[in-house]
Amino acid sequence: MKKTLNVLTGLCLLLIIFSSCKPKNAVNTVSSNAAAKSYVAPGKYDEFYNFVSGGFSGQMSVYGLPSGRLLRVIPVFAVDPEKSWGYSEETKPMLNTSHGFVPWDDLHHTELSQTNGEINGKWVFGNANNTPRLARIDLKTFRTAEILELPNSGGNHSSPFGTENTEYIVAGTRFSVPPDNVNGDVPISSYKQNFKGHISFVSVQPESGEMKIAFQIKTPGVNFDLARCGRAKSHGWFFFSCYNSEKANTLLEVNASQKDKDFIMCVNWKKAEEYVKAGKGMKKNVRYAHNTYDENKHSATSTFENDVIMLDPKDCPDMVYFMPCPKSPHGCDTDPTGEYIVGSGKLAAIIPVFSFTKIQAAIANKTFDGAYDGIPVLKYDAVLHGEVKKPGLGPLHTEFDANGNAYTSFFVSSEVVKWRLSDLTVLDRVPTYYSVGHLCVPGGPTKKPWGKYMIAYNKITKDRFLPTGPELAQSAQLFDISGDKMKLILDFPTIGEPHYAEAIPAELISKNSTKIYKIEDNKNPYVTKGEKEAKVERKGNEIHVYMTSIRSHFVPDNIEGVKMGDVVYFHVTNLEQDWDVPHGFAVKGAPNSELLIMPGETQTLMWKPERTGVFPMYCTDFCSALHQEMQGYIRVSPAGSSTPITFSTGTNQPKSNP
């Protein structure tokens, strides 16, 4: 306890020292030509796409760089009434889990798919930090194509980082928990006996992108935080930072900060593959959802998987090693050459840099410092390349440029520090406004960074923008890193809380972007491929409306014969085959969102009328000069009414007054 107090006092002192060093006026740090550097003229395109996690919004956002213009918010783990994500019948299955329909999550990190250690522009992955899941977003359509639930996990934080050919995306549990296949009704204080960590290796099919849990590795009950693959010379390895080697289950703020070192876990995943092939894995009975969106059927399906293959390091020697890392490491980042693994002890005032060559030598020579739960612990001094001394306070995350430099964020001292990997010299430091979390350098987590920009994602903005009441936007700050010194050129607010983000040259994605869905390829079972096929069918108490939309009318737009107790399904097909002409659909009183239907797509809105009457329906997306005319009526009669089903467009003319 005394020790904790001392540490805290030290922290406070350091805080005071650092904060007094901070420049008083932000204007000083903005270079005079900053506006020109971030200015993208109207009608011109940005140079990079920036994929930014939306944190507790559950979504991912896409910005252009260097302008900071918001291009799109991609719904992923949270429902989005604007895009009918999670509201239309077709998209609801995407949010299914073993816990049922989960309409929200906390998306922390992004991972762009890679080929040979370079970004290929096919997919971006996101993690769900609350109800553990992985999502894959298709970059042709900017839509979530797949969501996979992760068993034996509690908070998928150490994710969705991938290998250099996206062979695997990893998912490490932030909370250790009792495994899913045992009785979880145990005292929380039995943590040390009953709680386990699990790391999932999720394989990604190279063509389709389809994800599958290839295997899980059972680990001691620590908390996994972040991870990075080995690349180039270290390809075949994966590095996971972990904290709480104390195995505390309460007041982790204090109890998980006891030891002066926690671990980075080194996993030889090529070895793990061999063990799986050799049948060393145990099949464990678990249940998890696997949701996929079919682009031709324009609809999602959920399937439930019932087992995973589990590797136990006890049965699999030479697969897992622990590497001591000072003070509750957070970031764990591999440099472009694959030689250096940078740990960031968030309570430490140094940055330890480990050498892959030395790790291999220590393993070969068994230079161990005992074991942790039976897993060998490598000797710290034997694997250390060196420490960046006194770089700042609270190091979190490190990104890299192509010139052998690293950029590390410091939450506590609100700054980014640039340092050289070879000799660990600090080269430059800039303040951020305020309390920076992750950083992004285009191509930073690859073999070939593009450099040019570094973006800092800040947790706190306070006085940086016009105030908007108690809740303020988080922010991104764009720095020019093309010279020796980092230069702040732009602040822009973000949606939700940005955690990790990646950036990619625009042409790698823009040239493949889908414009429309071809109506002839539409395999939705409820598609209506032309106005003549539009109809209304009764099946028991279900009313199926096969509806079309095209500028500027619905077919049918007058519907009668619905009765109380009926469930109405509006299956709306957008017959347009023209870029950027979606149609919307909404009906008064429906406890649901609108539908937003892309050209050539079919989407379904379910409605249980709760009263009789005539209900207007209309197109919600300004589609044309006669958009306001794009409307109709549906009549609901009492149960037992004899009103027959009728439907039409253009023929149900008003009767003249008697």
Binding site: G43, Y45, A506, R551, Q577, D578, V581, A625, Q628, E629
Partner: protein
């Protein structure tokens, strides 16, 4: 009716905006990027995937070179590339040739642009009017605010008792009815 007038006013405003954009070139010396330039109106949008709009269909038709030239002279290409929806009554080259000698040449002169615009607007309706929905005796208020009158006999449609609809082509932003005579607005 009032709404249609407003719409037409809107379309005119769009037209004016697009003209002023052409006049003022917003090139900036401070632009940092080297990416693809996008300029002009919607007719310039690069898109090989979508269904063709009414203008693109007309441009692709060998029978409508006079109409396309007239649309360009009247600066209506951008407007008709818009979301619409439009019904365009599109006279063939032969229809224009049937006008008194020198009429087209006269209309194409810059000083007669208003006249040309009035005639072209008389060939465009806002909204999609399909053959199957046309009724004998029906009038349609055209973009220049004058009416055309349809006559329907045995499924064949004639406009103003002078022009036959000889083909109909659906477009992404409306429909084209090919006609065999130029429609002349009523004299005022």
């Amino acid at each position: 009716m009032k709404k249609i007038n407003n719409l037409i006013a809107l379309i005119f405003i769009f037209g004016m905006i697009s003209c002023s954009q052409e006049n003022k070139n917003t090139e900036s010396a401070t632009t940092t990027d080297n990416s693809t330039a996008v300029s002009g109106g919607q007719e310039g949008v690069a898109d090989d995937v979508s269904q063709k709009d009414v203008v693109k269909i007309a441009i692709g038709s060998a029978d409508h070179t006079t109409l396309v030239a007239a649309l360009k002279q009247a600066e209506y290409v951008n407007d008709l590339s818009n979301a619409g929806p439009f019904t365009v009554f599109a006279p063939t080259n032969a229809a224009f040739d049937a006008l008194p000698k020198g009429t087209v040449e006269e209309l194409m002169k810059p000083e007669n642009k208003d006249k040309l615009q009035n005639i072209l607007e008389y060939h465009v309706a806002i909204g999609v009017y399909k053959i199957e929905n046309m009724l004998d005796g029906q009038t349609i208020n055209q973009a220049n605010l004058d009416n055309i009158t349809l006559s329907v006999k045995d499924g064949k449609v004639m406009v103003n008792n002078s022009a036959h609809i000889i083909a109909s082509i659906p477009a992404s932003n409306g429909i084209i009815h090919v006609i065999d005579a130029v429609l002349l607005p009523p004299a005022k």
